[in-house]
Subunit: 602 residues, 2 copies
């Protein structure tokens, strides 16, 4: 087995760090129970481990390819996707009214974690479908919902997000793709002729399903300039008849696949809309309000990208851990003769593995807490709970996305290092994780843009209310842990308290600068996000450690497992909560000089 | 131009941070002068920029390949290597007695920096030749020197290091390759029959030269177990006649090329010695003392690997900087309309570029100072100078190697990030630097092994004398800078002082643990190396800033350049000297638990 979905770890974090039990109490999920969660996650693990994980390495060597205008996916992907749909995995958290299973989104997020650990190339296609469902649920007409939702919910069809154009990457104000109204169809629905090219379209074409529903940003004639003139359109690969059957093929095609550093199993398409003047779509939501819908897709997708980071970090960790147990080199300090020992026994190798584990688990804590906040914000029993959860969700989303993926890059790179020379040889598999992981810090809004979102809309947007509320919560937990009887747990608590204080200092400093010097705020944004991520991850790990200290006594059989949770939290505290303390210096370093570029490399 | 050797920066660091002028004063280099250095470095820049740099991208796509038992290098490599030999670049710092130019090694190290910036795949072959020359100079017989040195010095032949075997990676005690004495040849020189396989042999075979001189670790019959039974042998690809002409082909061949994550232009060979029972070599140095010779090669090579990191970081930086000036996205904070601005003007992009620059320049400072110490240790005018320089060289070598390459990985990854989505597309070139750079933290002793060397032989070996002397030197510089009239320079000084204090705390703590708990020392080793590297790099940047503050007034035309030096030092101080302060927590975290691996991923 190359990968095992860490179901026990996932459940530990859900139950003891992320506050999943609050979802049962909302009453919004009548079927939800411990037994159900256990059953779902066990089946999920089987699917990920047995069906998807074995495809991952071959998909790197035999990536998606474009043949005569059609994208062929990697060996086994089509069959595995068939099982994904059949198993109901796509519909887990969608509304029952549209064929979904009505479970909390948090469980779908856990699936994103497990599925990306199994194969990121395979998994990321499904994230786009989730985004399309959410956008159509949010803004679709009854007719659009009827035509598209059921099959997107089941996964019989997939969805895409068509945003980027060569001149419009992070800045979508420059989108040029056109949409021209051409009058109503036979059912009285206004149709638009779409023309333009989009780049970096994940799973823009593939052979997994009969149809693909593209959500496309484009401009209507006479639309205002900039982002205020962008609308969103539903552009199916094949038009759909009233009865749900497929009609004619639309004028949409993949004209090129990008050659990427990794993720070879995931087709990254250049899409041409209307090359023959015959591409038609319908407006989704209001004219010129396309970005609003896009953010509905995007915000959920950002958490899912964070979870891609968690999944791939887990995979890299498991591979490195297995290698470190098998590979023998050297002996213990001072020992000159005898058999070589597994490298796991060397202090520096254990340090690397603990770093991988602590970062992975910390990121999982942040993302799962974010997921629970997402559900509570929508299903909390009272208004206060929903409002507080929404504030936490907003705050955590850029951190989940950026911190988890930055850390995934760290983890995957450490994984290569654990393998020594073998890590650099592709055959070993460690390098693939590093190459695959690298995109996650870039797409769905680069991590720099997440940092701007954090210090901008999320911090300054409410005058620091959400951030300060969360900081207060963490400070309380730090006090609680500091008072623990066990010295190791108390140590975590003290480290957390120092880090929370530093985060508070940074937060106050940025809020103080807000009215005076946005350049200084923005210069500190990325380091503030890193600091916030370290502290939040340390907080969830400390919560886990506090719980583990109780469970050690309750569950003698599991004592070793809970002791390990405390050790990992302590490792994190000594490495990353201490790092957080120092980051205030970087956050408050002030605006950055505009040095004449020629002077920088001479 | 895709790359420009940063000659001005190199000279600034040599002159104002690394203390290069001390070499002129030794009297050991009578021809050395400012004009000579200027002339050499200008020519070097031309060769690197015009001949080597243009080959780099194609060598990634058209890597070295094995055809009918012969390795073919990437397009243009053979011609560029011919010019390398012709230009005398290989012989720069070798003794005149053997055809070298007798210049300081430091200049050859600067060439390693420039050449790796131009093309790491091309450049790394030359580093192995340097190692072979040093080993033969150190331990060779007159006959061996006569047969091999001149053509290795000129570069007409290349050298290799054959250490690793599948079971013997970091731990060479497990080497199994055999050497059996078979009696003297016609000239009375004892010959040995060599048999075994070696892996990861860089430029183990290629078509650049007529001959390749392999230095091979192997065991004599009845040799003691472990590293005390390893000898070194000279095993030429083709035997060499007395008159220097080539005789018969030896029974050595490349039987496989590894498929690597990057560095495709550099052949990484599996070498078979004596597959037909006809591989012969001669003993280099004493029986069973092979590791001693190996460390002669290795120590010099470690600094050169650090410089590989510097070079590739520079290349990644230059590419990102150029991109950031061309690529337009978004507008300044608060501006809603008008043209999009170059992304260089966005605070977070400038932060990334300054981080790349500061880390590259900091690493260059450490490596160049290490290079000067290497030269002074051998050519210093008096015994005291030589002894102090040797201590500094020993201390800095693991830091140059590990810190520079870790930071090169950071820099190359940030370079991808600056490019956004394009960074992940191979066509852009940024990803290649990240893939290429990754090996440098692994080979020539993994960075974990460098950390063990630092806390072991380098720190505990002399009871902290070398470390404390260097710490005192840095503390003095911090005081000096803190007293500067310019607030920005004084700020650097204060940050340096705090970081030096933290490093001193860590150093004392590790020395205190030395007799009690080696596991705790080793658990802190990597973080100690990181801390030491941050502080040392900050020290050399601060020295540069102090010098720049004077030069600003002296040289009105260059004022912008010197101001930029101070800005970069300040950026480093706020980000990486503050980070250094926090690392004491990680260094002193104590021994790491041996958690049952099964409990770590469940």
């Amino acid at each position: 087995m190359t990968y095992t979905t860490p179901v026990r770890d996932m459940r530990f974090i859900l139950d003891h760090a992320a506050g999943f039990s609050a979802l049962e109490k909302t009453g919004a999920f009548p079927d939800l129970s411990d037994d159900l969660v256990a059953a779902v996650m066990e089946e999920m693990g089987k699917y990920c481990d047995q069906v998807v994980a074995p495809l991952n390495e071959e998909s790197d060597r035999k990536g998606a390819r474009l043949e005569n205008g059609v994208v062929r996916t990697s060996p086994g992907f089509k069959e595995a996707y068939g099982q994904y749909v059949e198993g109901g995995w796509n519909s887990l958290a969608f509304p029952e009214a549209h064929g979904g299973q009505g479970l909390p989104s948090t469980l779908a997020n856990a699936l994103v974690d497990g599925l990306n650990g199994a194969s990121m190339s395979f998994a990321i296609g499904t994230t786009l479908t989730t985004g399309a469902v959410k956008a159509i649920l949010h803004a679709g007409t009854d007719e659009q919902k009827k035509l598209y939702l059921e099959k997107l919910v089941s996964g019989e069809w997939t969805g895409t997000m068509n945003l980027t154009e060569p001149q419009a990457g992070s800045d979508l104000s420059a989108v040029r793709t056109k949409a021209e109204p051409v009058g109503p169809d036979e059912n009285g629905i206004e149709r638009y002729k779409i023309s333009g090219q989009k780049i970096y379209i994940t799973y823009g074409d593939h052979d997994l399903t009969d149809n693909i529903i593209h959500l496309v940003l484009a401009r209507l004639p006479d639309a205002p300039e900039g982002t205020a003139g962008i609308s969103m359109f539903i552009v199916p690969k094949a038009h759909v008849n009233e009865d749900g059957s497929l009609a004619t093929r639309n004028d949409v095609q993949c004209i090129k696949l990008e050659e990427k550093m990794g993720l070879h199993g995931s087709p990254t398409c250049v899409m041409a809309f209307g090359e023959n003047g015959e591409c038609y779509g319908t407006l989704l939501g209001e004219e010129n309000k396309g970005l609003k819908n896009m953010f509905v897709m995007m915000n959920a997708a950002r958490l899912d990208v964070g979870l891609q980071g968690v999944g791939i970090a887990e995979r890299a960790f498991q591979r490195a851990l297995a290698f470190a147990q098998e590979r023998r080199q050297g002996r213990a300090p001072g020992v000159k003769t005898g058999d070589m020992i597994p490298i796991y026994e060397h202090a520096d190798v254990r340090r690397m593995l603990l770093a991988m584990k602590a970062l992975t688990e910390g990121a999982r804590g942040v993302c799962y807490a974010n997921a629970v906040a997402y559900d509570l914000a929508r299903h909390g029993a009272d208004e206060n709970v929903r409002r507080e959860a929404a504030a936490l969700e907003g705050l955590l989303t850029p951190i989940s996305k950026a911190w988890s993926t930055d850390r995934a890059n760290d983890v995957a790179s450490i994984g290569v290092q654990v393998h020594g020379g073998m890590g650099y040889i592709e055959e070993t598999g460690a390098a693939q994780h590093m190459r695959d992981a690298r995109i996650a810090a870039i797409y769905e809004g680069t991590n720099g843009i997440q940092a701007m979102d954090l210090v901008g809309r999320k911090l300054q947007g409410d005058g620091g209310a959400a951030a300060n509320a969360f900081i207060a919560l963490m400070a309380k937990e730090a006090d609680l842990a500091s008072a623990a009887k066990r010295e190791d747990v108390a140590h975590c608590g003290r480290r957390l308290a120092e880090a929370v204080t530093a985060l508070k200092t940074s937060t106050d400093a940025l809020l103080g600068l807000a009215r005076m010097d946005q350049e200084a705020v923005l210069a500190g944004a990325a380091d503030y996000l890193k600091q916030f991520g370290n502290v939040a991850a340390g907080y969830y790990l400390t919560r886990g450690a506090v719980a583990a200290a109780l469970l050690v006594n309750e569950d003698a059989d599991g004592a070793g497992y809970y002791e390990a949770k405390i050790e990992v939290a302590k490792f994190f505290a000594d490495r990353y909560l201490t790092e957080a303390v120092a980051l205030t210096g970087a956050v408050t370093g002030g605006a950055l000089p505009q040095i004449e570029p020629d002077l920088l490399s001479a």
